[in-house]
């Protein structure tokens, strides 16, 4: 089945140690998104790609970077995780045609 896959499902990292979260999709969707979701809150958009065009939200910390080497893969890099970065990170995809998003299962990041 076509889907959005996030790895790993759970990630524990040390304070200040760089960490990378990955997302892959078999839907061939043009657009990929990264959201941060803290407990019982709405997802907060960090950035998104239209094809290779990168769009950063104004309030996304510089600590967060992203890469999209091809249509299928997208990575979220956190250069120096702080305790406040502990959250669920959601990857989503969409086609241009406004059919909503397909979400991955998320990666829950713990910072110790």
């Amino acid at each position: 089945d076509a889907m959005v896959i996030q790895n790993p499902r759970y990630q524990v990292t040390q304070f200040g140690k760089p960490v990378t979260l990955s997302c892959s999709q078999t839907l061939n969707h043009n657009v990929m998104y990264w959201y941060q979701q803290k407990s019982s809150q709405a997802p907060k958009l960090l950035f998104h790609y239209y094809d290779k065009d990168f769009n950063n939200e104004a309030d996304t910390p510089d600590n967060f970077q992203s890469r999209r080497p091809n249509t299928s893969f997208c990575f979220l890099d956190i250069r120096s995780p702080g305790l406040g970065d502990a959250a669920m990170y959601l990857c989503a995809t969409s086609a241009y045609a406004n059919y909503g998003y397909t979400f991955g299962s998320g990666t829950r990041l713990t910072v110790v």
Partner: protein
Amino acid sequence: AQTVTQSQPEMSVQEAETVTLSCTYDTSESDYYLFWYKQPPSRQMILVIRQEAYKQQNATENRFSVNFQKAAKSFSLKISDSQLGDAAMYFCAYRPGNTPLVFGKGTRLSVIA
């Protein structure tokens, strides 16, 4: 700024009963899309139902239906014959054109057996 408001942080419903979750949004756009997403505890967010703003007919998906009032900028979700598996966080979301979704803060629905 485009905003989505869900005024009910928590709701509960008896199994087999009907519940309505409210959502209002603020926009100056005439063409947009509205969605309800369900997020069960520790599980994937999934699309429940979508509505195109240009359609007057309310969307329906099995036990889920919406009441879309464009002039009032209201988009409520009705769940009929509630089941235990409906317990989840429900997010209302708005999307004009190809811009990213704007989510409301969510409503946590509990289903009582």
